[in-house]
């Protein structure tokens, strides 16, 4: 999953970036409103965390611009005052949730996870599909109740596919959403991950959870439970 963080305070920004990357996110960050507005429109993102009190373009404007440009990823706004007028303005502008500063790491991650689930159409933190359960809080996967051991990147690919179950995900989309902007990407690696995932999840080729759509990408094909 790829997160966009727009926060002007450098220490807090670094902290949020660390919280998210430790949790398996690829993170892009902007230090002010102008950069943030650009990134919110041009960068691939699964979720955005936007501070309302930004120098340059305000957080509220970034939310509005992103929505006006048709960007539909969930947005979590950070506010300093627990004033409801600001919250309502932010939510009206198109944000999906708010978080009042200062916040706990767990709170931030829980909200972000919840937003991602909601945007994928999942109701709980456990994404259950076929015999598989992907626990997005514990970052564990089980098949028929038995745990499946995955590497960090394998898990990320799986979580992305399951979150967007039923949708065709291209290789480039997967790379974009799994790696931060400045990291080197190699779409061949994705093929390797998919092959390993299939082997680990479905050694008997019984469920065939991941379908390859030639020339388009991959699709998680098991129904949601």
């Amino acid at each position: 999953m790829r997160a966009l963080v727009i926060e002007d305070d450098p220490t807090l920004r670094e902290q949020v970036i660390r919280f998210l990357s430790d949790d398996g996110f690829a993170v892009d960050a902007a230090p002010d409103g102008d950069h943030g507005a650009y990134m919110a429109l041009e960068y691939p993102a699964d979720v955005a965390i936007i501070d309302l009190g930004l120098p340059g373009v305000t957080g509220l404007d970034i939310v509005r611009r992103a929505r006006a440009a048709g960007r539909m990823y969930p947005i979590l706004i950070l506010t300093a005052r627990d004033g409801w007028q600001a919250k309502v303005e932010g939510l009206e502008a198109g944000a999906d949730d708010y978080l009042v500063k200062p916040f706990h790491r767990e709170e931030l991650l829980a909200r972000v996870r919840a937003l991602l689930r909601r945007s994928g159409g999942w109701a709980s933190a456990q994404l259950s599909s076929g015999p598989y359960v992907v626990d997005t809080s514990a970052k564990s996967v089980s098949s028929d109740g038995k745990p499946v051991e995955l590497t960090s990147y394998e898990y990320r690919v799986l979580e992305y596919l399951v979150t967007h179950a039923g949708k065709v995900i291209s290789k480039s989309e997967l790379t974009e959403h799994l790696y931060p902007e400045n990291e080197e990407r190699d779409s061949n690696v994705i093929e390797v991950f998919i092959r390993r995932l299939r082997a680990k999840l479905d050694p008997d080729a019984h469920y065939n959870p991941i379908t390859t759509i030639r020339g388009a990408g991959y699709r998680w094909d098991l129904p949601r439970r």
Partner: protein
Amino acid sequence: MNSLRARLLVAAAVILAAFGGLAGLILERAFQAGLTQAQQDKLQTLVYSLLGAASSDPSGELTIALEAVPDPRLRQPLSGLEAALFSEDAAIVWSSADFLRLTPPSVPDVGEWRFERLHAPNAFALSFGVRWIDAADDPRRYTVVVLEDAAAYDRQVTVFRRTLWLWLGTTLVALTLALLLLLRWGLAPLRELTRELRQVEAGQQPHIRGNYPVELKPLARDLNAMIVSERNHQTRYRNALGDLAHTLKTPLAVLRGLTNEPGIAAAHRQQLHEQVDRMLDIVDHQLRRAAAAGTRTLTEPVALRALADKLLSAIVKVYATKQLRVDNRIAESLLLRADEGDLYDLLGNLLDNAAKYGKRQLGISAECENGQTLISVEDDGAGFPDDAGKLLTRGARADTRQPGQGLGLAAVAEIVQAYGGTLRLERSALGGAKVIVALPMH
């Protein structure tokens, strides 16, 4: 005398009455003077005629033949006109019919006129001193006296007086009425301005709109400027507080994040947590106290239903997974004069609590009753615990599983207090909690 109209009216009435009275007196005097002068002239003419008709009798005394008197009334008894000639020693030498006096009213010098008003009988008297030189060359001194009854004169004066005062009175009353109308018309813009100001105060219009005469235009303009500045001031103040909150809380957020660093010993971590929470508590409390605007006279009225709708759609969005069913029963027309930010925080916290602790349903309603606006927010959750009063103190939370700072109800209580209102916790018909806020109207 606290009304401008009463002041002007009383002053005008006093001036009018004084002016009318004085004018009446002067007119009456002038008329009487004229009438008296005419009376004197008439009697003077009579005296000359009498002297013209006079002649010496054989004894050398002056006499007037009765048939030669110039006015026939002198021959008639009780005619009201009498005349007589007195000798030097005040004895009557000649008199008209029924002249009753034995002495002249006064004895003027020769060639001197004396005009008098007698009271018994009521009459005018004109006396004239003459020296009569006849052919015998024996000059004698006489006094000619003419008396005329004053009843006719009195009647004329009475009639004049009655007419004068009647018309003067009528004119004064008419003038006062005209003045009254004039005042009404002249003061109408002031009355209108007062009415508009009351409307603004009552929150029925945002500012003063009327087109006023040049004298009042600056006042109306200044009043509007004041209203706007009062409102802007509140907004600026709020924004400044928002900025302050932002600058204070961002470092607090960093500190709180640091408490998760693995290098920190468990004991220190706990302390760090506590201190950050305490600081946060203080900042929150002071900011909220500073921000609660409380009652203000010129704040723009807030349409409560629209505000609640905005909050509800925000809440529904935040608690999307709960699929809340919300019911806004506030009347469209309900206006509340309070700071908009305060109302946002008040209802926002109440609705947030209801959404947080309720299951699926939440309702909000408001009505005006006995000079109070009653706002109730209810949900279908577990309701308040028995020691619900504690929820009103800062930091306490009914259900510790829920994320949040537990300041919702305390914040509500602070705002309600700033407006001099009351807060009641009850059980809702939906099964859960019901909070009733009563805010006094002004």
